[in-house]
């Protein structure tokens, strides 16, 4: 499999004390080294996304403003989200990683890919930077695939709801968006009843989980809520918004997953791809550096078909009732449209 990162060209500086900082990508690289995956992983050669490619999901005025803000020296867009002089180039390189991964997999170069952009992307809407995010990396890749006639499943297991990705594809029948996330939490979206627009009914699947939910609950969410919808949708590609902030050690949130859980989740989602070369994971959040290193490595190993479990899977936490409630809503929607 292929791994790509912007670590060598990372000039997105969020300032002292900000949890989304450059050492995150260094930690991911360290985690992969420690996993000793050897020849199972190769390096993905990246490229910068063009404004046209970003423009499939973002407004031109928004992209101009972002580029100009970086060129003018940067600053804070909101209390969470910052731009530095190098942010625009780094964000373009980050979004380009996903596009490069799509190209490489289409050429048959690997069975799967993992890409590590900065900053994360899933909170960025068509016209709004927020929640540390500037451009929506997974959405840029999904939009490119959808434009090429492909049906795309995005599974977002970041601890925060991917409001930007949901907004962008809310009414788009070519993209199925599935999210597990802590509730209540930032950004306040992702209720079970948010199920897609009139053009894509049932193609947004939200499974909000309570504080303390463990990995077994996440697996149940995928098996009991997502799997039937995914089967009916029959995706050509599986993209994962792989934040690692649902890990129990993460300082920004309160779910209780471990690196072993990410390995299990990855295997479940890999099985949803229609065949080899149709699976890409995108780094989103994850702010405890050791948890990030272990979890990203466990995910990459699982994508490569290898076993690396620096921590065992977790179970016994709350949240099964939330899974049952979400399953009921989506079973009803599927029944209603049959």
């Amino acid at each position: 499999m292929l791994v790509g990162s912007v670590v060598a060209v990372d000039h997105h500086d969020t300032g002292l004390g900000h949890p989304e900082h450059a050492a995150r990508l260094v930690a991911v690289a360290r985690g992969l080294d420690e996993a000793h995956l050897g020849d199972a992983i190769g390096e993905l050669e990246g490229r910068a996304a063009t404004v046209t490619e970003l423009g499939r999901v973002h407004g031109d005025l928004y992209l101009d403003a972002l580029a100009q803000l970086a060129a003018a020296g940067g600053g804070a867009i909101d209390p969470d989200t910052r731009v530095s002089p190098g942010s625009w180039a780094t964000a373009c390189a980050g979004a380009g990683l996903g596009l490069a991964a799509v190209d490489a997999l289409q050429r048959g170069e690997a069975e799967a890919a993992f890409v590590a952009p900065r900053p994360p992307g899933h909170h960025a809407t068509a016209t709004q930077a927020m929640g540390f995010c500037l451009v929506n990396n997974v959405a840029v890749a999904a939009a490119a695939l959808a434009e090429a006639g492909q049906r795309v499943l995005i599974v977002d297991w970041d601890v925060h709801h991917g409001n930007g990705t949901q907004d962008i594809f809310w009414n788009d029948p070519r993209v199925l968006y599935v999210s597990t996330h802590e509730w209540p939490a930032y950004p306040g979206t992702g209720r079970v009843r948010e199920t897609g627009g009139p053009g894509a009914p049932g193609l947004t699947v939200n499974i909000p989980l309570p504080s303390g939910a463990t990995g077994d609950v996440a697996l149940a969410a995928i098996d009991e809520v997502a799997a039937p919808v995914v089967d009916a949708f029959a995706p050509d590609w599986v993209l994962i918004s792989a934040g690692f902030d649902a890990h129990r050690d993460d300082p920004l949130a309160d779910l209780a997953w471990s690196a072993g859980d990410y390995a299990d989740l990855t295997r479940r989602l890999a099985a949803m791809a229609p065949g080899p070369g149709r699976l890409i994971a995108f780094l989103e959040g994850g702010y405890d550096l050791n948890a990030l290193a272990h979890s990203a490595a466990a995910t990459v190993a699982a994508l490569a078909g290898a076993t690396y479990r620096p921590e065992p899977a977790t179970n016994g936490g709350p949240g099964h009732d939330a899974v049952v409630a979400a399953a009921r809503v989506h079973a009803h929607l599927a029944g209603g449209s049959a």
Binding site: G17, H18, P19, L61, Y62, D64, A65, L66, Q68, L69, A72, G75, A76, I77, D78, P79, D80, T81, R82, Q128, A129, M130, G131, F132, H160, E182, P184, A185, Y186, P187, G188, T189, P251, L252, A253, D254
Partner: protein, 141 residues
């Protein structure tokens, strides 16, 4: 003209304190109720200084918002409610204004960040741009 409910956006900064005081004064003069709203982002500031993660500090942030940052409302003796919502300040203020059927939105002129000349406006300019309701922006004292 109806002025039953005034929304004031509160983030704990000196700037938002000015907006709270101004809203309290208007409410005292008109008998309106004040709905104070705090947007819980990914990060927050407990002491006006270093940012801390919001989620593990929800209870403490909520307590400070309700007791400290909104104190001028109680001091003025006006009817008021406090609402904490997850999200970025612009979306939270606009959504709360709709849900609470607010007659006037009051914000401080400048919180963190914002570049109006680049269309990445501050919270106050973005709210003023997108709101269908009257907005008052209170300048820093």
């Amino acid at each position: 003209m109806k002025l039953d409910r005034i929304l004031v956006a509160v983030d704990g900064s000196d700037n938002s304190l000015g907006a709270v005081v101004w809203a309290a004064g208007l409410a005292a003069a008109t008998g309106a109720e004040v709905v104070a709203v705090h947007a819980l982002g990914l990060l927050d500031r407990l002491d006006g200084g270093e940012q801390v993660p919001s989620q593990p500090n929800r209870d403490e942030i909520t307590r400070r918002f309700e007791d400290d940052w909104c104190a001028p409302l109680d001091a003025a003796g006006v009817r008021s409610r406090r609402i904490v919502r997850d999200g970025n300040p612009v979306s939270v203020v606009l959504a709360a204004a709709d849900d609470e059927d607010i007659d006037l939105i009051v914000l401080g002129s400048r919180g963190l960040g914002g570049y109006p000349e680049l269309l990445l406006g501050s919270t106050s300019t973005q709210v003023a741009q997108h709101s269908s309701r009257p907005v008052t922006i209170v300048p820093t004292a």
